[in-house]
Amino acid sequence: MTCEEFGRVLPELEGDHHNNIEQEKHLQTCSFCSGLVSDLNAISAQARLLAEDQEPSLRVWNSIALALRQEGLIRDPQVSARLLGSRLGGWKLAWLKPVTIALVVGAALLLELQRIPRGTPVAQQAATSVPVIGSADGLSQGSAIDADQVQLLNLVASRAPAMRAGYESDLRAVNAYIRDAETSVRNNPNDAIAQQYLMNAYEQRAMVYEMAMNRALP
């Protein structure tokens, strides 16, 4: 077997398994081809050892978490359940019955009170408290973006034009989330769960800002 013939069958050979006697003989007598095979095997062996030591930036998980939240794959009620769980943890079961009755009566009273007109509704006050730029795509006002956010998006677009739409969508979603949470807190100022939702919403917005800034900066 010549080197040329060996070269033609080489792509079919896997590692050190050369079953063909002719090929084995050639490798034993030809230092050039045996050196070549040895090098190719060394490359292949080293490739298997390549470490997975590269880590993605924090932005990646933040974006994933945000997307999962927007798509409803992460369920927030767990926060509520944890808070409720910790609150109820110390209570004896005997307290639950009268408390439940009191809550039901309280809710009925609240419903009655809501029938009485009392000037401007809280939800309307919330809507006017944040300066917003009209949403071009007809989304609700709660998801509209303000002037600072537009500036941030323009910065992102100047560095990575393709990313602008994604961040705009994230900002609209998080604005809507904040708007709902703020309304909820205004309606129930002493509700710890509503406050927790609002804190989560602010954290989400901070996260989007951070990611957008990372994109916008050189």
Partner: protein, 207 residues
């Protein structure tokens, strides 16, 4: 496919301190953020390394890592445990990268194949010093050389030699014949050998 040693080790390691992979999968199916995060941290390095090596671009690799995990989490409800979770995730990551490259119009199999057939035959260079790579090859040199490979060669080399896929799996994923996959892999190794030897020679000539 070769077992994913590091993923399994990571997954087992986590059982002692935090959330086991199986627990995390079940809890993620219920929408538990902590579980999603645990799964992400278990597998992020492997997925990101794959994306980074395939694209040779940090921003693109991060976007692809994000997309791969999102696809995984969207489908996690359908995971029944017939295969290892890491195999499932990894295959998904590979598909995301390949799909992205197709969208960008990049060839998954090297176009240089028809032009460089002579590479399949070893060339003897009279008088040239035949310094063997075996025994002196290190990870950094190889990483750099892989980055310098033409994209089509790089893809098949990474899938076969780094990720451990078989030629029939690569042929299916990339959309080529098994013979083509073998030929591309051989050319990739030959090109790497050439790059590594050139790099070594350049270093030796430096004052």
């Amino acid at each position: 496919m070769r077992p994913e040693q590091s993923d399994l080790t990571d997954a087992r390691k986590s059982q002692g301190d935090r959330l086991s992979e199986a627990e995390a999968i079940e809890r993620a199916k219920q929408g538990d953020e902590e579980a999603f995060e645990a799964l992400y941290h278990l597998h992020k390095r492997r997925v990101y390394s794959l994306c980074l090596r395939m694209t040779a671009n940090t921003a693109a690799a991060e976007d692809l890592t994000q997309e791969a995990f999102l696809q995984l989490f969207r489908k996690i409800g359908t995971f029944r445990g017939e295969s290892a979770f890491s195999t499932w995730l990894h295959r998904m990551a590979v598909n995301v990268v390949l799909m992205q490259l197709r969208k960008k119009g990049l060839p998954l199999v090297s176009l240089e194949e028809t032009m460089e057939t002579e590479e399949e035959s070893p060339k003897k260079e009279p008088g040239a010093e035949d310094v063997r790579l075996a025994g002196s090859l290190n990870r950094l040199q190889l990483e750099q050389a892989i980055g310098d490979l033409p994209p089509g060669y790089r893809m098949v080399f990474l899938l076969h030699d780094v990720e451990g896929y078989e030629h029939n799996e690569i042929a299916e994923m990339v959309g080529c014949s098994i013979g083509n996959s073998k030929s591309q892999l051989h050319k990739a190794r030959m090109k790497l050998r050439e790059l590594l030897k050139t790099s070594r020679a350049e270093k030796a000539n430096q004052p």
